[in-house]
Symmetry: C2
């Protein structure tokens, strides 16, 4: 039996990932939360409580922040089209999380039980579908098909990335190039389209929109590398989700590539067996080895390279209103990476 | 390891459900098959073979037929917008099948192995998502957001219907009204939107579009009742999918309601236990009882009632070109139902 969702009453506006950094985003996030809550009535009565459970997360709202910041004009009430676009990308993201958690059999996400744990995997598949469908429906609220076209294409690319990742699980012949391709599709794509939509809907010139688009892609790759680093170096109470799952599920990420590069042949072979699933994963041993071999520094350099790419994308647009905010986002990400650094 | 899809070369145009009845639909179905095959190149190279596997089914193409017939003008090459709309609804349908088969753990659909069997459930979740996303992307190829809005809303309703069905599985307090609501959402919705889109894109007057919409809804309900009847009375070699799954999976459908109504109390209790999953299902016994108690007739009457509703919807439009074809569809469905009738 599915449990009754535990969130009957609407919660107050959630603290988003940048609450401490972007005070200006507060009215935007409040508008977004209100807009998302208003969507509940569009769903069939039988599934509203489940949709509410998915929407009402202590989410980081990173993609909405990208929409708002890329379309930044001045402080105050956000433009209605930015709120709608932010809701579209966030709902697509929430749908992918619901489906991801099924595959990972994850019990905890954002410090509470996942939809698949709460309602069962079968309902979670369909619930994710309903969220996807409604996100695309919201995207049809714009005067032209442009937003819907951009978002549906991005969604397909995100799914393709997840499929490739799934097919490559437990495979040890994945290359760093494969990894880059996977995270470009599964993560950077939605970051990219968020920046595209924000800048485009705010009416910025085509050159800036293209720059914001490139910025988003680089930032997304950097973010995913950070996320993969956190899977080893993070603390669950800080990150708010089950960690250490990548090695256990046979997912080759950058920290593991870096460790494989450094391990002596015999140890490399046993780690490969852990990834391949023919030997029990030893995350604590592998983390100790990562610390010993300086894996953190190597991965941090990779994040910095992508952040440099993101900054470079905006180099020709120093005076547009969004630029300052987007550059600050780069700083925030780098400081998040730094906060994972193990104490010597 | 996922197996390599077994369909490397494009197959010839498939026989659709109405091949013997609607010779006029052949160019339409050929155009649709070509259009669907052309979509492959829009998917990321890594997932094309999987998408091809899903698209290249010996599908019945019922929903595309509804688009074409509701938008019928004259024999010949179908209008490009009808082909596109047909591809959109078929791709949404294929996506739902991919996800359905995961939940049913079905091995066979349309006489061959399901995507979930072929690629594993995890990849199948994502593959279904990618198909959904691309269907919606195709819907953005129309000049306005109308098609995309209609299809995304329908998709959400289909998913809601499937969720309700999933949550009610193994529950014996489902009522016939609940059943009607579920099939209205999960099946009739896509039939309805197919008829809406066909007639609307072909430029028929609003009154006829509304009539076609109502027709599609009734036909969809009738079709699902037929499908549920076939799960008990059909032959796998004729229907092309695993049958007898409804009782085994605890899904209360109209034939089971009719049987429960007729069984003596003790037998009713054991059947309830089979539905509830606390007793092994006995499909052969239940089929014998259905025959004994005349369940077939009761269910056939329910199909006829919906078919009457479908016909009535078109009563005021006897001279529009689609009407004759749509009424013939009703005959086809009734004859399919009749072909399930057990020989005395």
């Amino acid at each position: 039996m599915p449990r009754t969702p535990s969130t009957a009453t609407p919660s107050p506006v959630k603290a988003h990932a940048f609450a401490g950094v972007f005070r200006e985003l507060e009215p935007h996030m409040a508008s977004l939360d209100g807009f998302l809550r208003d969507q509940l009535s569009s769903f069939e009565p039988e599934i509203r409580a489940m949709v509410d459970y998915c929407i009402d997360t202590s989410g980081k709202r990173i993609r909405p922040a990208l929409v708002f910041l890329s379309g930044w004009r001045e402080p105050g009430t956000p433009a209605a089209e930015l709120v709608r676009a932010a809701a579209v990308v966030e709902m697509v993201h929430l749908a992918t999380l619901v489906h991801d958690d099924i595959m990972d059999s994850a019990d905890v996400r954002r410090s509470r039980s996942t939809a698949t744990r709460e309602f069962g995997p079968t309902a979670a598949v369909l619930l994710g579908d309903a969220l996807f469908a409604h996100a695309l429906h919201l995207a049809t609220g714009f005067p032209t098909t442009e937003v819907c076209a951009a978002v549906s294409e991005s969604t397909r690319r995100v799914c393709a990335g997840e499929i490739v990742q799934t097919l490559r699980r437990r495979s040890t012949d994945v290359t760093p190039a494969d990894y880059h391709r996977i995270i470009d599709l599964k993560t950077a794509e939605l970051f990219r389209v968020s920046c595209f939509l924000g800048s485009r809907l705010a009416g910025y010139p085509a050159g800036f929109v293209a720059a914001a688009d490139r910025f988003g892609r680089h930032l997304g790759i950097a973010y995913q590398i950070y996320d993969d680093l956190a899977d080893f170096f993070g603390r669950e109470d800080k990150i708010g989700k089950t960690l250490g799952t990548d090695l256990a599920s046979g997912k080759l990420t950058l920290p593991l590539f870096a460790l494989l590069d450094r391990l002596p042949a015999a140890e490399k072979a046993t780690l490969s067996e852990e990834i391949g699933g023919t030997r029990a994963a030893e995350p604590k041993l592998r983390l100790r080895q990562m610390m010993e071999f300086g894996v953190f520094d190597t991965v941090e350099i990779a994040v910095r390279e992508e952040v440099s790419g993101a900054r470079a994308a905006l180099a020709e647009w120093p005076n547009e209103a969004p630029t300052r905010h987007l550059l600050l986002l780069c700083e925030v990400l780098l400081s998040q990476v730094a906060s994972l650094r193990p104490v010597a």
